[in-house]
Symmetry: C2
Subunit: 189 residues, 2 copies
Amino acid sequence: MKLLKEKILEEGRVEEGNILKVDSFLNHQLDIELLNEIGKEFKSRFKNEGITKILTIETSGIAIAAITAQYFNLPVLFARKTDSKNLDKETYESNVYSYTKEKSYKIRIAKRYLNKNDKVFLIDDFLANGKALLGLKDIVEQAGATLVGAGIVIEKGFQKGGDSLREDGIRIDSLAIIDSLEDGKIIFR
Amino acid sequence: MKLLKEKILEEGRVEEGNILKVDSFLNHQLDIELLNEIGKEFKSRFKNEGITKILTIETSGIAIAAITAQYFNLPVLFARKTDSKNLDKETYESNVYSYTKEKSYKIRIAKRYLNKNDKVFLIDDFLANGKALLGLKDIVEQAGATLVGAGIVIEKGFQKGGDSLREDGIRIDSLAIIDSLEDGKIIFR
């Protein structure tokens, strides 16, 4: 997606440890116009899939999913990472390992909002090792629902998550795939 | 806001400890159509205030702020509760006490995204004790920016946060104010 790649080149900052900071538009400050273009792009790619629900994970997936959901006329469901009084006792749970935090955390979805008739579209801001997506996939399977695919804004193509999920037969559509951040230079696939 | 109150009466569930669960449409599953109506309502109430930035706090404020921001054509900024590699080192910080979790947590905003020329509109899903809003207000003041007011979806009017903030001269517009949840019954002001 050209507009997104231009934005990444303009405002993205590469920091030590292959970190790409896009906090000016994607995960701290939010460029709502860009999110709308991202939503339209996801819609055009997944419009014929009979999706019934958009699933994401707190925190940075929420705004992208909410804006995108407008183009699908569908509800969003976001997995909680923390214990929350807002959640039912009856939840689907999965463990997600975070490489950056070097520990596992639980993600939860209230059972009442996902069932075997659902066709689920996953949305997230970044895909690197793919552990968050695997956790969401696990929850979709626990619910007996169908996983239609995942829409990712930025995939770190030099990490293994995306390719490994694709090898498992999951459709992963990333709007920008980055092949290298070496020497502070952003190289797209 | 009539539509919101109807939705709360229809789908809200009152649980022990004056908890109002609205996870079917506001803070776990998201009813995007309703969020759009909420966004339009905030716009109509705050359209003449010269707002330059919409500020919220993770997690449940994000979707509401993002959808609302479309009507203002403004960027959203959301305060982070957790240490995050996505954040700059240069941040405004404030401590927020959580009564439900019985501990304080830090909220952070990267300094580069808020400055003295900003006129800031706060958005959040719930207002109860008002500690989160006070933390955001503190950050707005640290930046030398102007606080225009706060748009709240549901205020628990039987707790003291809203009234106390209003006594401090802050404009608080809550779309639904609940005066009582006693005996499992939702009474609006």
